[in-house]
Symmetry: C2
Subunit: 381 residues, 2 copies
């Protein structure tokens, strides 16, 4: 019912009765409950051909807000969105995720309160919280599981931590590339069913949108393409112990190390970006070669998954013209013609904002799902 009202498919009680087959009394009762819950309001009379004008119902997208946080290894971003995913306030700050969950989440919480004040909101408006973290997550429980770059976070319950501060807000936690994929999909590619978002930063990971929803896989491990083997790199040993992993060949950390060994000042992926922008020929050559290795893995993903769109983001996405040249060269050579016929390979449009946008959308879909709304109305009754 709320979905019909949100989408504008049915805006009067009579239309809802007609479209759902629900009893008139059931509809009247639920409309009252949704109004009482502040999710919809009576927006005035609708046009009618005669008789009493039926009241038009509308979704109150400003009736609450969701908080979202995209936690990176050294840099994080937090935001406040209304219930239609309209941005109300946003900020980014440096924070070492290796400082552990208590220190990091305290910083996030502080920013949340500041952003709420900035947006003229308070705690009572918060309907849900979405958090992205740079590691594997057991989505059902909101805990990171053996995250390699998040010491102290293993099995730590992020929802429990927030439950004390925002008791009424459900907290969803997901891997950062998953929410980035959802962010790009929600903002720019809603009409495409299948999308891959590839983050090329220190490491390399992939978020998958299948039939419009995040595909997390059986244990939340889907999209871990950084350890797929690529050809012609039998000499490259990865931190995982295997040989020739994509991440060890084409990740930002690997490129920085190789540039540094070649005498160029580079420690991390952002330094690679800087060198490319300065026109350093070695850096440009290496990023193009990295694009070709990434293209080899993505060609396999295209043959296997047949997506409509591949979005390339992450630090290295900032020099996407060089990276994408290599990716496109190999994908269009190695994937089957049918699978590449309508395929788009594009740079991220949201950039650093993909994560918080996706986390906000994830939470909104959750709290406005029929099951969640039913539960909330029952509890209110």
């Amino acid at each position: 019912m709320l979905k019909l009202i949100r989408s504008g498919a049915a805006v009067t009680r009579a239309q809802i009765v007609q479209q759902t087959g629900l009893a008139r009394s059931t509809v009247a009762q639920r409309v009252d409950a949704l109004v009482a819950a502040g999710l919809i309001y009576e927006a005035g009379d609708s046009l009618s051909t005669g008789g009493r004008r039926p009241t038009r119902l509308a979704f109150r997208h400003d009736s609450g807000v969701v908080l979202s946080a995209d936690l990176g290894a050294t840099h994080s971003r937090v935001a406040v969105h209304d219930l239609a995913a309209g941005p109300e306030a946003e900020t980014a700050f440096d924070a070492e995720i290796a400082d552990g969950p208590e220190a990091t989440l305290a910083l996030v919480h502080e920013r949340f309160l500041a952003l709420l004040a900035e947006a003229g909101r308070d705690r009572a408006h918060v309907r849900g919280i979405g958090v992205g973290v740079p590691g594997p997550v057991a989505f059902g429980t909101g805990r990171a599981v053996n995250p390699p770059i998040m010491p102290g976070w293993d099995r730590f319950s992020i929802p429990d931590w927030f439950a004390d501060r925002f008791p009424d807000a459900p907290v969803l936690v997901d891997n950062d590339v998953n929410i980035m994929a959802l962010g790009e999909h929600s903002a720019h590619w809603r009409e495409s069913d299948h999308l891959l978002y590839v983050k090329v930063g220190t490491g390399i990971g992939c978020g998958i949108v299948a039939s419009g929803h995040i595909h997390r896989g059986e244990v939340g491990a889907a999209g871990d393409i950084g350890h797929i083997v690529v050809t012609d790199h039998e000499d490259v040993v990865c931190r995982c112990g295997n040989i020739g992993c994509l991440e060890a060949v084409a990740g930002g950390h690997a490129l920085a190390r190789r540039l540094s060994a070649a005498g160029h000042p580079a420690q991390r992926s952002r330094d690679v970006v800087r060198l490319v922008r300065e026109g350093n020929a070695d850096a440009v050559r290496m990023v193009r070669a990295a694009g070709r290795s990434l293209g080899e893995v993505l060609a396999a993903c295209v043959n296997f998954f047949n997506p409509r769109v591949i979005v390339i983001g992450g630090d290295l996405g900032d020099v996407h013209e060089h990276l994408l040249a290599g990716v496109r060269e190999i994908v269009f050579q190695r994937s089957l013609p049918l699978a590449t016929r309508d395929l788009r390979i594009v740079p991220s449009q949201l950039g650093d904002r993909a994560g918080v946008t996706g986390a906000a959308n994830m939470v909104i879909e959750h709290i406005l799902s029929p099951a969640a709304v039913d539960r909330a109305l029952r509890e209110a009754a």
Copy 2:
């Protein structure tokens, strides 16, 4: 409503009212329509704690049948199932798909009529038809698209051909590995959300079940893993023009050719199976090596997709102990520990019957979907 009755979640009119929130009058009306359509029947009184006993409703799974056909390059199988996917009759026969659609479908039609007679059914019982073909399919229109081994079938409308013979039966056409994946999932792995079915025959293809449904990709090209590149085979040229494709390294046709070159009598994948069974050391060694190459590609698929189950079928699946040894060796070495923690890699349990089982399930889900049932009831009214 039909779903609730089929699953046994709600078996009286009152329970349906309670669980759906639909008006009592709406429920009564729809129950009458479903009874009139022969999809449900009044199965007698249910237990009651007093007063008038409410009537128990039950799904009439024998109220109709679906026909299914799994067309192979040289061999096909057709079957009749009831609406609960219970098998009623089945047969297999040799037919060259290269003879074109008219000749092939005439043979299929002839078998359909014979099987219907065998099952004590007639045309009027046929509620739907499912067909699997060995090539890419535009699922929406039921036409093969540039199928490499199906001369004469390109863009031929299989649904139109059957429409003249079974005017009231919707016809769904899909790629053969897709219906095989659905068959294994429906029969043995319903509780697993994500499954891959790999057919290792002349070529190599993969059917994908994601969140319980066939994942076809944006243009129906998903699962084409035969042309993913594998390492250490820079000398192998594939018929697609690329170097080192999985199919050219590990497909049944490639193995037969290599065995033949080594002086062993082998022309096609079944010959490879025979040689392995005879204990031919070259054949055993080659199948194990093929398993490792397949394992390399599947390790990538596991990292990317994180399935719960990988089912190995096709001709070479008949010597699965050797093939799976190679697959498991590489998948468990090259995939990430989290993704392989609960992963099962198993031989096909349905064998040659996977295709017709899956095609039957595909059609049943379609014709009993709420949208299809609503449409049928409206047309009947």
